[in-house]
């Protein structure tokens, strides 16, 4: 779902840069406060970032026989909150651009917006909402992550349609959107299912540590206690 270096014409890449930078700065502020209180958070968040990168470099088989990779930002948002997830995504996207030629530097803004901002905010919103209506954790995680994925792809389609309008914006949006839908829908479902397992691991193996550290603690810790009841 990465828009390639140079693909977006002026002025679109600048616009997305401007939009993204605001949110990332907010995230940086939050992250700074978090790591000041909990120095443990830095290495932990860093290895998670590296994990997301490595996942994205791994080719996953998907139903269509094609390959695609998860974005990881949905789960990151559920666990860390959308603001911090956006910073982490921004860094991972930078590495993807530099080390894998996935995405690019000028399109970093647009990619951060779709993958690091819209995705996490949608995911986090759904996660919170699903907790409000007392859906089981696994369903909540699945919905949050799968829809974070889908919203990312819708956003990318919008970005492309805006930059390359056909007869109308809608026309172009539908063209881009339907091209992506083929692989993105199975992928979103796949990532949703994967996220359930990873979330489970997180709570099972590191729940204590994380809630002690309070990074993920407040959310995961409380959540899992709630589930236990």
């Amino acid at each position: 779902m990465h828009i390639m270096e140079g693909f977006l014409p002026h002025p679109w890449w600048e616009i997305w840069f401007a939009v993204s930078i605001v949110v990332v700065i907010l995230g940086v502020y939050k992250l700074k406060k978090l790591t000041e209180r909990f120095p443990e958070a830095k290495p932990l968040l860093a290895v998670m970032g590296a994990f997301v990168f490595v996942l994205s470099a791994l080719k996953l088989p998907s139903v269509t026989g094609s390959c695609s990779h998860p974005t990881g930002s949905g789960l990151a948002a559920v666990v860390l909150g959308p603001a911090i997830a956006s910073v982490l995504s921004a860094i991972v996207l930078l590495f993807q651009a530099l080390l894998l030629a996935h995405g690019g530097l000028t399109t970093l803004g647009a990619n951060i917006f779709s993958m690091g901002i819209v995705g996490p905010f949608v995911g986090y919103g759904l996660w919170v909402a699903s907790k409000k209506v007392r859906l089981p954790t696994s369903v909540g995680v699945f919905l949050a992550v799968a829809l974070a994925d889908l919203s990312t792809y819708v956003t990318t389609s919008v970005q492309l349609a805006l930059a390359f309008p056909s007869t109308s914006f809608m026309d172009s949006f539908i063209t881009f959107g339907s091209i992506f839908a083929v692989t993105q829908i199975p992928l979103a479902i796949g990532e949703g299912i994967l996220a359930i397992f990873l979330f489970d691991f997180l709570v099972k193996y590191k729940g204590k540590l994380l809630s002690a550290m309070n990074v993920i603690g407040l959310r995961v810790g409380l959540q899992s206690q709630e589930d236990a009841k």
Partner: protein, 291 residues
Amino acid sequence: MAILLDMRRGKEQKNKWHIYEEIGTEMSHFNLSAEIDRYAYTNALSKNSPVTKLLFALSLLLISVLSPSPVAPITVFLTSTSLILFCAKIPLRFYLRLLWYPTLIVALTCVIIALFFGYQEPLAEVNLLGLRWIIFRDGVATGFTTFFRVAGALSSQFFLVLTTPMTSILLVLRKARVPKIIVEMSLLIYRYIFVFIEVMETMRIAQELRLGYSGWLKKLRSLSMLIGNLFIRTLDQGERTFTAMSARGYDGNIRVLEDLPKPSNVALAGIIFFAVALAIIAYLTMDLRIV
């Protein structure tokens, strides 16, 4: 890897599978990032000032992206490519390997843009698949411009990543007042990317040796185990890294030693001159149209 690539991926993958069968092992992008990284540290320009290289690459990138006509991007492409091949001495084979995939995708996308996007001045009509397609001039123009813009931008990005060690890039960013926390996290992430790549590769081989990939379902099962296990190791590693950092006096700040090669004034002046000249070319050829 890029836009619209998903559409093509089914076929790509099959083509690649043939190659893999020949080589015997399945390649992943891991090799790519590991090799890019290796060239960044070993190429003939690696010891030059990262500031110079970063400035150079970014100015070429900006000119490519901002230039309305293809002249400047083409110049950029030729310049970066020759620097990559002749000054940094990156093997042509590897550079082509980096280039062919995005080129293919972008070419394809641009064809699509040229064919489906546009509504002014019909240029031609084709009969394809029993349907009549009208090709518009502005669509074709957009397609071409986009293609060359990507070529110029990508080549300057490749120049940067193939000649400049990632650590120097990050240290320059730090100097340029990118928020400290971003740089610190990036430095750690960079290190662990390669730790995990190694782990992932070895673990995948271990699974393969116990026949974990001999079928679609087994493959899925193995992969999920692999990801799950890597995730646990990731969490463990986070804790152990914190332990190791603590054992050396980590107090919440990651301090780094800054001793980057100094940029040479001649090189800087050369870059500015070249960039300005390119910008002027871009301005003068603004109205040039291919179609």
